[in-house]
């Protein structure tokens, strides 16, 4: 028998600190596989966020920066402008990208900065213990919306892909999930496309990945992937919003 599925070279052999069932592990793996397949490991730079994935550089054998909360797209810009041949990508959660980092991601996109952003949306703040995120759904209970998010107090969840797709500088904007093997395969295709678009220097690319957070959603992993499919994906549809015409 031959091995048809193995750990990718770009992943280190460290066991991750993520909770059982957390989507981060799958997303890390897909990115690593894409980097291996494209043969770009030594010229790829990852910018780590503040959030559960703050230590992601322990899991990727890549040059890496640690960013301040929300500022990864600005750091990526600085790096990419110095080394245009490098493949530079950010990996950010919903607080990092859609709360404190809203200005940075919008402007990186509108500048058509030739970087890629992987946006992990689990509709909650994981690392800090389960507070509301900008993408938390109405009615969703979190530690700062104990009665469920109410529009009158906390406004509406924000749809990042739809927003960024309106910008000229955005070359590729897609939303995927990792809630089933089929969705995982689609997610990997989108991530690969995003990196290929950076390689072709076509502009800014972003893949939003709906992800499960069993711990802070107070669900089992199996329940949490169902919640992604039933609730999260109905507010945040899995769509390829923008892609270059030639691709």
């Amino acid at each position: 028998m031959e091995a048809v599925f193995e750990r990718s070279k770009t992943l280190t052999r460290a066991s991750t600190h993520y909770c059982p069932g957390c989507g981060h592990g799958v997303i890390h793996r897909l990115i690593a596989e894409v980097i291996d397949e494209l043969g770009i490991r030594e010229k790829t730079v990852i910018i780590a966020p503040v959030g559960c994935a703050v230590l992601l550089y322990n899991y990727f054998d890549l040059d890496a920066y640690e960013a301040a909360h929300g500022r990864a797209p600005a750091i990526a810009t600085g790096c990419k402008r110095v080394h245009p041949e490098a493949i530079v990508f950010t990996y950010q959660g919903d607080g990092d990208l859609a709360a404190i980092g809203t200005a940075e991601i919008v402007h990186a996109a509108t500048r058509g900065e030739k970087i890629t952003a992987i946006f992990v949306n689990n509709a909650i703040y994981g690392m800090t213990g389960g507070q509301m995120a900008p993408t938390t759904l109405l009615g969703q209970k979190t530690t700062t919306t104990t009665a469920g998010r109410m529009q009158e107090r906390a406004g509406y969840p924000i749809r990042v892909c739809e927003m960024l797709a309106t910008l000229e500088g955005s070359a590729y904007i897609a939303r995927v999930s990792v809630s089933s093997p089929r969705n995982v395969i689609q997610a990997k295709k989108a991530i690969k496309k995003a990196f290929e678009i950076q390689i072709k220097r076509l502009g800014f690319s972003l893949v939003e990945v709906l992800s499960q957070c069993p711990t802070n959603w107070h669900m089992t992993p199996a329940e949490s992937i169902e919640w992604v499919d039933e609730k999260l994906a109905s507010y945040f549809p899995l769509v390829e919003f923008k892609a270059p015409k030639e691709a």
């Binding site: 091995a3 093997p181 992993p221 199996a222």
Partner: protein, 85 residues
């Protein structure tokens, strides 16, 4: 397809070094060949374990695709020369 039934098309190895017992693989295996073990691993989890007494595993990789910890290695029979794909 082999007629003997004892040599299946595929098999998986689940590494207790990485498995956190999230059971998503249990959820998705189409042949229900994975279960959560009774014992506790060195990591402190009840890991998933592969049980395929009847060699039903086809090496479909659905378990490995959903596994967040890259704990699963999947093996599949190489097709013999002359056999239709």
């Amino acid at each position: 397809m082999e007629l003997s039934g004892w040599k299946g098309m595929g098999k998986i190895e689940i590494s207790e070094e990485f498995c956190k017992g999230c059971a998503l693989c249990v959820n998705f295996c189409p042949q229900k060949l994975i279960r959560i073990a009774n014992h506790v691993s060195k990591k402190g989890f009840h890991p998933a374990e592969f049980c395929d007494a009847r060699s039903k595993c086809s090496g479909c990789t659905l378990c490995a695709l959903i596994c967040p910890d890259v704990a699963i290695t999947v093996y599949r029979e190489k097709k013999a020369v002359g056999e239709k794909k």
